[in-house]
């Protein structure tokens, strides 16, 4: 029986009913990864340890978790002990961490099997997965098209049905945008919900780990396992973690959904607009009603983000200096030369561009005008959200202004064009709020995503609204033909 395109819930039932064993399931997953090698979803496979773990996982234990024996893929910026972790960068191409990220450890402790590390934009900087040192990832829906980024490999692996779910990280939309472009569900939780320990930092105040899966229900299963305070990450929240599966079936009667006035959708492709209107109708049928709301400062999100994120990145990436680990240039004259050559040769263009922008934004004489100002605007944006959530339960936007695009078509000449990909997703990172992208149809045979943004710590509402939507529609069941792979 094929396991391709099966959800966690379905695979759980197959395992529990002994239709398949955990080792068989894992081997199926490895086989699928091999079959679709050309997608280039994976940077490193975890065959040896993954097989071993699948052989030893105990499914008969009464307390065995929902995830026991379920194969998963991890974005290649989560450190995994003994398993190469590259951030899709030349500078870490041979880096084998001595420890495992908390988020991954929790998933593995729940019995899931890591089958490999997924391709991504280098250091999570990009929206198309084209900045990876290990090459482009194809969108399973159309060869030669991007899967989105930065968690492009994870999104493509789930979309192609190789694994039922994968981890991603989202700094400005890096879970939601690729989920939208690949036709799957992706959740960015509240900032601090999941520990960042072992997640290689891009922009510390914005980075957040989260799940990509075929359904909102599966996202809830992963979120249950990944969440919680971690003494090793003092910015992780100590708030109580609810059971995210428990209230997933609540009726949506009376749900108040806000539509953000400042996002002018009339500029978008008419088909993208049409999908959005269709989904509104579905929600209305389910008992929700819509109100237009204003977030006066939200239009400043992109410039605010592109001051703060590069500033933090310029500092976070200083440790890649060729001294203790990672790529070190040869033929060096002195320490300065070691830095210059190792970093010039080790980092790709987009990473260098952001380090330069960030260094500039933090420099004496510019700090007040860029970084400090951006932090002030960020506070205003957050206040806007706080105000709005007094009167609505969730906000709804498209996830991305467009569908997946062709390789080399965007951002290569004009990076700013690619930065605008993040228009709808970035503000929830700035405000630290949870947001989810669910598939809601196609435009020109490519998936389109719908974004729901929730109040602080209200992933439960997002998962509930998404699950009910998926119970009453079949967009999430659509499968790519994988033609040509």
């Amino acid at each position: 029986m094929s396991v391709q395109f099966k959800s966690i819930t379905e695979l759980r039932a197959m395992l529990d009913n002994k239709l398949i064993s955990a080792p068989e399931l894992t081997q199926e997953s490895f086989q699928l990864a091999k079959k679709y090698k050309e997608l280039n979803c994976f940077v490193t496979m975890n065959e040896e340890l993954g097989t071993k773990n699948a052989n030893t996982v105990d499914l008969n234990n009464k307390n065995a978790s929902t995830l026991a024996g379920i194969p998963l893929a991890q974005k290649d910026l989560f450190c995994t002990e003994g398993l190469r972790t590259t951030c899709s960068s030349k500078i870490l191409a041979n880096f084998i961490p001595p420890y495992t990220a908390t988020a991954v450890k929790k998933l593995e402790d729940a019995g899931s099997i890591t089958i490999g590390k997924t391709n991504m934009d280098e250091f999570a900087m990009g929206s198309s997965n084209e900045t990876s040192y290990f090459g482009n990832v194809h969108n399973p829906w159309k060869k030669g098209y991007v899967p989105g980024g930065s968690s492009g490999g994870s999104a493509a692996a789930v979309s192609a049905g190789i694994v039922p779910a994968a981890t991603g990280t989202d700094t400005g939309g890096s879970i939601r945008q690729p989920a939208a472009h690949c036709g799957i569900t992706g959740l960015k939780p509240t900032y601090g919900r999941i520990s960042r320990w072992g997640m290689i930092a891009f922009a510390s105040s914005l980075d957040q780990a989260g799940p990509l899966a075929r359904t909102a229900e599966d996202c809830a299963i992963l979120l249950n396992a990944m969440s919680g305070h971690d003494s090793k990450d003092t910015t992780s929240l100590s708030s109580n973690v609810p059971d995210f599966l428990e209230n997933i079936n609540q009726p949506l009667d009376g749900l108040k959904i806000g539509i953000i006035k400042e996002f002018d959708l009339s500029d978008l492709d008419s088909e993208v607009q049409a999908r959005f209107e269709d989904s509104k109708k579905i929600y209305e049928k389910l008992g929700a009603h819509f109100v237009e709301v204003s977030l006066p400062n939200i239009s400043a999100s992109v410039p605010t983000y592109y001051s703060i994120a590069p500033a933090e990145c310029s500092s976070n990436l200083s440790r890649f200096d060729g001294v203790r680990f990672g790529y070190r240039a040869e033929d060096i004259d002195d320490l300065n030369d070691l830095y210059i050559k190792s970093r010039s040769e080790g980092f790709g263009d987009e990473v260098k561009r952001r380090i330069l922008i960030g260094t500039y934004a933090l420099s004496t004489g510019y700090y007040d005008a860029y970084y400090k100002k951006a932090q002030q605007v960020r506070r205003l944006i957050k206040n806007d959200f706080d105000n709005i959530f007094q009167s609505v339960d969730i906000l709804m936007t498209p996830t991305s202004p467009n569908t997946a695009f062709k390789f080399d078509s965007k951002g290569m000449q004009n990076p700013v064009e690619l930065y605008l990909e993040d228009l709808f997703t970035i503000s929830s990172n700035l405000a630290g709020l949870p947001a989810i992208s669910i598939p809601h149809g196609q435009v020109n045979s490519l998936p389109v995503g719908l974004q729901l943004i929730g109040n602080f710590l209200r992933e439960d509402q997002l998962l509930n609204a998404s699950h009910i939507f998926q119970q009453n529609s079949d967009f999430h069941l659509a499968q790519p033909s994988l033609e040509g792979f």
């Binding site: 910015t235 440790r319 001294v323 004496t364």
Partner: protein
């Protein structure tokens, strides 16, 4: 022209916490290279810092002692620069909201005291160590020190001479050791300073251009480095030239300061708030607890020694001036009642011995118990003070207790009048001519008889008893 010197000091105090400021690796000094290092200290990808609250408590204790304002919300910032022994490429420090603001320290000059105001004190992590001369063609990095908590204490530019700077550092040393904030070990770098030195015409209100002498780690070098720098700057000014604002290093082998190569320090540190750490909030209760557990400070000890223990002003001052001496005295004073004899011994024999051996009292074979026992044996006349000195020497060498030495060497004092009288009669009978001379008025011969008695008893006869019985017998 009369010139005036203006000095401000930035003191780096290594806090005596068991673990590092942002990791649980040990801070122990002297471990083999790169053994007190964990994932966080070597700045591996994906690691995050967690604050060691103990470092905050020590910083706050210092702040309360100098009567400063404590910022109950304090934040960390990143100071960005590249160096091989700085693993993350940035140092975590405090810029806008340091833990300690203001306060002052009193320094003692020859015959007066002066108050130096403190601008601020903030917490930061130390860097590792680069070793450039041990491996041909390579530099080596030791990260044991990386992440060790430092309190950087910045003074106002109110110090006017090298001598005052030394007095300030001595006061600082006394304070931080008394507070148990630091071990104050300057040779190991636990207390070191940067000196900002400038010269102006006497009477000028504007400050002259300053230079910063980095990383001075002994009282002697502070004095020499600053004095060299003062002379150098005055010479420049008297030649009508201008002092260049720069960072300099003191080279003790040549007794001079020279500019650091510009590569050795960066100019733009691109400070910004550390996003990996939340603001650290200190509660009123935490501060109250630190107040409640405040250790006794030198001034209070001095007053107690004079008031409760009846020591002289001089003795009280000397003993309380050093924390290790005062701790030893306090421990010994629990086991003996003769405080003034104890203080005499500490200031006299014991200090002389420690000076000669160049060791701290706590590193010697002496313990408070043993010294108190020695004082008690002298006090209860088991032994004489003179025998006490020879026992002390033996104690230092063998580490035995005074009682063991008295026992094994039979040094117990003879205080039995009958026994002493018997010996005295022997001496009188054996020296008839001296007795005759004494009785005819040669009073000085009294000492001769005492000496003979002591000789026969190997110094063990109780001198008081010898005196009184001898006087009686020689009438």
């Amino acid at each position: 022209m009369i010139w005036e010197t203006v000095i401000g000091l930035e003191t780096h105090v290594q806090l005596s916490t068991k673990t590092k400021l942002f990791s649980r690796a040990s801070t122990a000094f002297g471990a083999s290279p790169n053994t007190n290092v964990n994932l966080i200290d070597c700045g591996l990808p994906g690691v995050l810092p967690s604050v060691n609250k103990e470092a905050f408590y020590k910083a706050i204790r210092f702040g309360l002692a100098i009567d400063a304002k404590i910022n109950q919300t304090s934040i960390f910032d990143r100071k960005n620069y590249f160096y091989a022994d700085l693993p993350k490429g940035y140092q975590i420090t405090q810029m806008d909201l340091p833990i300690v603001l203001g306060g002052s320290i009193e320094i003692l000059l020859d015959d007066s005291a002066k108050t130096i105001n403190i601008t601020r004190a903030h917490l930061e992590e130390d860097a590792g160590k680069s070793i450039h001369d041990e491996y041909e063609g390579f530099s080596a990095i030791d990260l044991n020190r990386a992440g060790t908590p430092l309190l950087e204490i910045v003074s106002e530019p109110e110090i006017s001479s090298a001598k005052e700077a030394v007095a300030y550092m001595k006061a600082m040393h006394q304070l931080v050791t008394y507070l148990d904030v630091s071990d104050g070990n300057m040779a190991q770098g636990s207390l070191r300073c940067d000196a900002n030195v400038s010269i102006r015409k006497k009477g000028d209100t504007e400050l002259g251009t300053r230079t910063e002498i980095k990383n001075i780690n002994s009282f002697k070098f502070i004095e020499k480095a600053i004095n060299f720098e003062i002379k150098r700057q005055i010479k420049i000014l008297e030649n009508g030239e201008k002092v260049t604002q720069e960072t300099r290093l003191y080279d003790s082998s040549k007794d001079e300061t020279r500019p650091m190569r510009s590569k050795e320090f960066a100019n733009d540190y691109r400070y910004f708030p550390e996003p990996d750490l939340l603001p650290v909030i200190i509660s009123d209760q935490e501060i109250q607890k630190i107040r409640d557990e405040f250790p006794e400070l030198p001034k209070e000890k001095e007053a107690r020694y004079q008031g409760e223990l009846g020591l002289s002003e001089y003795d009280s001052q000397i003993i309380s001036s050093s924390k290790s001496m005062a701790d030893f005295f306090d421990a010994a004073a629990k086991k003996t009642k003769n405080y003034s004899l104890l203080s005499n011994w500490l200031i006299g024999e014991i200090s002389a011995y420690l000076n000669k051996e160049q060791i701290d009292i706590h590193a010697s074979t002496l313990t408070a118990d043993k010294v108190a026992m020695l004082i008690n044996r002298i006090d209860d006349q088991t032994i004489s003070g003179k025998i006490g000195k020879s026992i002390f020497e033996e104690m230092c060498v063998s580490g035995s207790t005074p009682d063991e030495i008295i026992e094994s060497k039979g040094l117990k004092q003879i205080s039995d009048d009958g026994a002493i009288e018997e010996i005295i009669m022997t001496v009188i009978n054996e020296n008839p001519s001296q007795v005759e001379a004494y009785l005819s008025g040669k009073d000085k011969l009294f000492g001769f008889f005492v000496g003979q008695v002591m000789k026969l008893t190997e110094g063990k006869a109780n001198p008081k008893a010898v005196n009184s019985i001898l006087k009686d017998k020689l009438k």
